[in-house]
């Protein structure tokens, strides 16, 4: 912390393209992961077992096992769903939106951020299915021919969710895979054993790196970025409509779509930093994922966090301004009711802790920033939980008020998906290049020419 340059560079030193290819590819091809890596993978895998056990219990015993009942019929399955979808958005923002805005600093972080998006969306998709109660009927949400004697309610955003998440997952997967192709070819060419050559060779789709290939690649990659960009906004807007369509106090608020999108970016960037800070240290790539990336990520968190704080203020002001006693009571119950401890911790994390990021020294001090990003992740989970449960728990009829209390199934499923998410991330780090070789190489060339 002795000296901090005014604006840290996007890349430290002047490494050549060959050097960059060699360094990044060797992480995957040599496979000499530090012991910590395997211990962390083991811990994540144990949590996956917890997930399987809890889900088996949930399916056999029913949704009542996670504490929901009338009037609070939505519990952590919904808040987990919103939280995980939100985590994914930062990856799309970094990979697609920053590409369209020609931001060169995205190059080192976009690959693992995209992987984060994919795995987060996969985790998110689990929750609405588990919440169905009879998850084996999940395909009823599909637009099947009505010979099945059922037809989904197309005016319901819960059905739109299905299409939104499926589209988001598909586009994210395509975008991620297309971006991987040139790097897979590098791994294919550098691999020493036959199995690796075959594995990466099949995935590389015959990439030769000709001018023709690059021209096609650029066109498709740009097109996918254009397709993915509106999804950053549309997916979480549709998620927010799940609430705004509901008439429960605290649910029906028109600011929810942009406020949810901002919240998604806020928690998503917190997760990007949660992963990037140990990753750059673990694989000794501090010269490629520099403090500039970390600083920019923290600045985006400030912007998104302030919009979220504006959303909190707007919710409270309009609850009062509505003149509606039920809305006013719901807002008051958030402050002093049974969920007040969650609310105040959420406020402390999302608004209080955020203020530390105004200080440049804090933004560039990795241990502090890592803790802050964890706290913001916690705060954003609490935010979704508070939104989901406080509305129905203090509805229009005080005689019908009730609460949802967290059960071991809530924790089991949530921490289980955290384990599954990180286990997938570890597998990704082991078998695919976490940093985009060709884009970082291009950046290095540009810097040398400059």
């Amino acid at each position: 912390m002795a000296d901090i340059p005014e604006r840290p560079p996007v890349m430290r030193g002047h490494p050549g393209t060959r050097e960059i290819s060699g360094r990044i590819a060797s992480i995957v091809l040599k496979g000499q992961m530090p012991r910590f890596f395997w211990l962390a993978f083991l811990a994540a895998f144990l949590l996956v077992l917890v997930l399987f056990t809890t889900v088996a219990w949930l399916i056999t015993q029913g949704v009542g096992t996670y504490g929901i009942n009338i009037p609070v019929a939505w519990g952590t399955m919904l808040s987990n769903f919103v939280w995980w979808v939100g985590i994914g958005h930062a990856g799309t923002l970094i990979s697609a939106v920053l590409l369209l805005f020609r931001q060169d600093w995205r190059a080192s972080v976009n690959r693992f951020a995209e992987a984060m998006t994919l795995f987060a969306v996969a985790m998110a998709a689990l929750f609405p299915i588990l919440h169905l109660g009879r998850p084996w009927f999940f395909y009823w949400l599909l637009p099947l021919p009505n010979t099945h004697m059922h037809w989904p309610q197309w005016r319901s955003p819960l059905v739109w969710d299905f299409a939104a998440i499926a589209t988001y997952g598909t586009v994210s997967l395509l975008f991620w895979y297309i971006g991987l192709v040139p790097d897979l070819a590098v791994l294919r060419d550098r691999a020493k054993n036959r199995a690796a050559q075959l594995f990466y060779g099949i995935l590389a789709l015959g990439w030769r790196g000709s001018a023709f290939h690059w021209a096609r690649f650029d066109a498709v990659y740009y097109l996918l970025a254009v397709l993915a960009t509106p999804l950053v906004v549309s997916v979480h807007s549709i998620v927010s409509l799940d609430f705004t369509y509901g008439m429960a106090p605290g649910y029906h608020s028109t600011i929810f779509p942009p406020y949810f999108v901002a919240g998604a970016l806020y928690s998503g960037f917190a997760m990007v930093l949660t992963i990037a800070i140990p990753l750059r240290r673990l694989f000794r790539v501090e010269d490629l994922i520099t403090k500039r990336h970390i600083d920019n990520g923290a600045k985006i968190m400030i912007a998104a966090g302030l919009i979220v704080a504006y959303g909190y203020a707007a919710e409270f002001f309009f609850a009062w301004y509505s003149g509606n006693p039920a809305e006013r009571m719901m807002a008051w119950q958030r402050l002093v009711g049974p969920y007040a401890p969650f609310f105040w911790v959420m406020l402390a994390c999302n608004v209080g802790v955020l203020q530390l990021l105004w200080f440049r020294r804090v933004r560039l001090w990795m241990p502090a920033l890592f803790v802050i990003s964890l706290l913001i992740n916690l705060g954003m989970w609490l935010e979704r939980y508070v939104i989901v449960v406080t509305g129905p728990s203090t509805g229009f009829l005080p005689a019908a008020w009730g609460t949802q209390s967290l059960q071991w199934v809530d924790f089991g499923v949530f921490f289980g998906t955290l384990g599954a998410f990180f286990a997938l991330m570890f597998l990704f780090l082991r078998i695919l290049p976490a940093i985009t070789i060709f884009e970082v190489g291009e950046l290095a060339d540009e810097r040398r020419e400059a």
């Binding site: 005016r155 906004v233 807007s237 409509l241 705004t244 369509y245 008439m247 029906h252 608020s253 028109t254 600011i255 929810f256 779509p257 942009p258 302030l306 504006y310 707007a314 919710e315 309009f318 009062w320 301004y321 509505s322 003149g323 509606n324």
Partner: protein
Amino acid sequence: MTRAGLILAVCGLALAVPAGVFGEGPALAGGWLAAMVFCLGLSLGALGLGHIHALTGGRWGERLQPPLRALAMGLPVALLLSLPLVLVPGALFPWTAPAETLPEVVRAKLPYLNLPFLYARAALCAVAWLILALRFATGARGGAESVVSLIVLALTVSVFDIDWLMAPEPEFYSTIHPLIAMATMMTGALAAGLIALDRRGLETERKDDLGKLAFGFLLLWAYLHYMQWLIVWSSDLPHEIHWYLDRARHGWGWLLGAGLVLNIGAGVALAWRSVRLRRFGAVAALLLAGQGADVAWRVLPAMPGPGWAQAGAAALALGLWLAALGLLRRREARHA
């Protein structure tokens, strides 16, 4: 600009005088409010855009700063325009009627909706905006000053929107409403800035970038509007849906249609590369007109008619604002 403004003002006066004579004073107040919201919005939008650029940097804003500064300098004129409205609160705000005649839900809001508090908030916003505009006149500095300016702008514009655009219909409330106002202000200011830049000549690459940026702002504005409509339509609650029903009936549907045609037209032209490059100024003017129509559609249906009297007052206020802005520009050019 001065001459065009004066001609518009005279046309507006030709309608406003008979309106006043035939006792349509409240309609004049409504039209005047719409023009004031539009003019003030352009200055506030310019402040917002200028500070965003000061923070993010980028070539898109370098050429844009001078026209944004000129727009921001029009802020005192727009504030002066708002003064006559202070004299006729009864024409704008139904809650100034005796409390016992108001619905219960409105009575519950009276600690906020009362004239002394409203004027105090308006004065506070005006002082904050004047300070921001004066500092912006010498150039946005970026860093902490721009951050603080943007936070102050977001809060004061929200208060302004609630007080002058939402409060005329006191039973209605929508939490996204202030964000729509912010989006309109910035889209309008950007369009006005692009018109000014086009007249001075702009290289193709900059036109392309700024055209895409304008398209982005238009999409943001459309997104916010669409979300409000979708949520209100889906819930069909009486206190919300009337906001739309009032804006679709009594001839206001035409204004809605005009706004849609203008904004969609601007959107298509901005997305079409050859059109946005060849007809840059015209496309920006289309966008500005579309945003103006949106302001009129949001403000006027809440006010007492008739429409011709509202149009007269709006033209008069807009003309005076344009003429004053032209005079300011001429004076600045003389000093330079």
